[in-house]
């Protein structure tokens, strides 16, 4: 945000689109079929023992019921040896949620003040069936699914996290978008009383935190509205009670504590793009070939790590979800649309 560096636009044609984008149609369809099959078949029944050491939350009864009926392991990593789940304490104790401060442990320390019951979400804009919905009414019609996704932060660290939630596509379909809807805009709660980060006089973020997706990205089967993780409801610091999870994009796209979902005609201006347009774009697809101006995106530190083994691994195009999503960006210059 604060550095002004010329973007390396002077690249040859061959640099424009990464090789991995040039997937054959067949491979892409195969990937989707695999995903579809995974969703249709469901996974093995959830063993309580999986999350035996995860503390219970104090979510409402309806949410516990939905979680109990989850389709467990609906999406799992292709290589579970490489993509081991981060311990719950790390996933819930080390993250960014600037509404609660800019340190990695601030959210866990300070998010207790967030009141998530009752919670309602406004669905508005280019929809026929909009309005203000109680969280239960928004989420209950869909069956919960467990999705084990890699989460790649734009700061070059990553974790593997088992989310519980519903496909965003189902919520959007129920809202009945009009033909004019082209993007989805999301807003986080603004309440400085509950969110100390919003009380800071020197915050660079113009609250509310805003994120957006193209409609086809929002409708993609991988895009999840999460209400839980690790077999329980979301801890406050992870964006309770409702957050987005878009696994092929940098973590900041996965907006937390959502209070508004708007179907819109124009591309929304997301918060990080507003703060630093030269560092953060609208798309924010994970891309090892396009560096952040202040650090490389070619590799990532898979957390938890230890002192003398930073656990640095190569970052994959679209965070390893290229088979499923690369087609969305065919013909798009990902260097310009970072």
């Amino acid at each position: 945000m604060l550095i002004k560096i010329a973007k390396p636009h002077d690249l040859s044609e061959s640099d424009v689109t990464p090789e991995s984008v040039y997937l054959s149609r067949r491979r892409f369809m195969g990937g989707m079929a695999g995903l579809g099959a995974g969703l249709a078949l469901g996974g093995p029944a959830h063993a309580e023992a999986d999350y035996a050491d995860v503390p219970d939350g104090d979510g409402p009864a309806w949410l516990k019921e939905k979680i109990d009926a989850t389709r467990w392991q609906a999406v799992t990593p292709r290589d579970p040896e490489k993509d081991k789940l981060a311990p719950f304490d790390d996933a819930s104790g080390y993250n960014n949620f600037y509404e609660f401060g800019s340190g990695k442990s601030d959210p866990a320390r300070r998010a207790g003040s967030l009141e998530t019951q009752p919670w309602s979400v406004v669905v508005d804009g280019e929809v026929n069936n909009g309005g203000r919905f109680a969280l239960e009414d928004l989420a209950s019609p869909s069956r919960f699914e467990e999705r084990i996704y890699r989460l790649r932060c734009v700061e070059a660290w990553s974790m593997v996290i088992p989310w519980l939630g519903i496909p965003l596509a189902e919520v959007i379909r129920r809202a009945e978008p009009t033909s004019r809807a082209r993007y989805v805009r999301f807003e986080t709660l603004v309440d400085p009383e509950q969110m100390p980060g919003q009380r800071s006089a020197f915050s660079l973020i113009d609250w509310p935190y805003v994120e957006g997706l193209r409609l086809d990205e929002a409708m993609h089967p991988l895009t999840l509205l999460a209400l839980g993780m690790y077999g329980r409801e979301l801890p406050n610091q992870n964006g309770a009670p409702l957050r987005l999870v878009v696994p092929w994009k940098y973590g900041f796209k996965s907006i937390k504590s959502i209070v508004r979902i708007s179907l819109v005609e124009e591309q929304p201006l997301n918060s990080w793009q507003q703060i630093a347009p030269d560092e953060y774009g609208f798309y924010a697809n994970v891309n090892p070939r396009v560096d952040h101006p202040r650090w490389s995106q070619a590799t990532e530190r898979r957390l938890p790590n230890s002192l003398f083994s930073p656990n640095t691994i190569d970052t994959l195009m679209f965070n390893g979800y290229a088979d499923e999503v690369a087609d969305l960006y065919a013909g798009l210059d990902l260097r310009t649309h970072y």
């Binding site: 945000m1 604060l2 080390y94 600037y98 990695k104 660079l204 003398f308 083994s309 930073p310």
Partner: protein, 214 residues
């Protein structure tokens, strides 16, 4: 102050004072190391050390720079006696900060270090500040002071530039909230303000007034 003075009447009182400062400056490193060893530093202990030691280096630099105004204000000899030590601690913290980056973040990938060095402005600025500290560190002995004569003082005025570079380095890693940075910038501005000739002249007079009032 009375107790402190009694302590200072011991034969090796200044050595004791210096030793105390040494242990106090060492303590944060011991504490952070112990936290990492006992798994209390979070899922990314390397980054924990990197950030804490980096901030520690800035603390050391600000403490070093506050010694001169403090001795003007109090005329207590102790402040001047630890100036070189704290300056060297600044160098030590800054070097450990850089070492943590190379070891824990880059995993000693020297190729990566080379490319990061030329591409990332905040790293260039950090390295410049560290080089400055090295130059001051190696000329901090009596021999260099004698050798360099008058030029020694001009050389060691580099420290003001180093403070500026350190603040710029810090400014460029801020992502979402400038509050903490502004606090350090304000402290730095205050310490630098005490060096403005009119302020510097006023400091001893302030001490005189305090002395009379008490």
């Amino acid at each position: 102050m009375a107790n402190l003075n009694r302590l200072m009447t011991l034969p090796n009182r200044w050595q004791l004072w210096r030793l105390g400062v040494f242990l106090a400056a060492l303590a944060p490193l011991v504490i952070w190391g112990w936290q990492v060893a006992s798994n209390a530093a979070g899922p990314e202990p390397g980054r924990y050390l990197l950030l804490n030691i980096g901030l520690g280096a800035l603390w050391m630099l600000l403490l070093t720079l506050s010694l001169t105004p403090l001795s003007r204000l109090t005329r207590w000899k102790g402040f001047a006696l630890i100036r070189r030590q704290l300056g060297l601690w600044t160098l030590a913290y800054a070097s450990l900060h850089m070492l943590s980056y190379a070891l824990f973040i880059l995993g000693l990938d020297w190729g990566m270090l080379g490319s990061e060095l030329v591409k990332r402005p905040y790293i260039i600025v950090g390295m410049l500040a560290l080089s400055g500290l090295v130059a001051l560190g190696v000329t901090s002995n009596r021999w260099s002071m004698r050798r360099l004569g008058k030029r020694w003082k001009s050389l060691h005025r580099l420290v003001y530039g180093i403070l500026g570079l350190a603040l710029l380095h810090f400014f460029w890693v801020v992502r979402a909230d400038l509050g903490e940075w502004l606090l350090y910038a304000a402290i730095s501005a205050l310490i630098m303000a005490t060096r403005l000739p009119p302020v510097a002249r006023t400091l001893p007079r302030l001490r005189y007034r305090f002395g009379r009032a008490s």
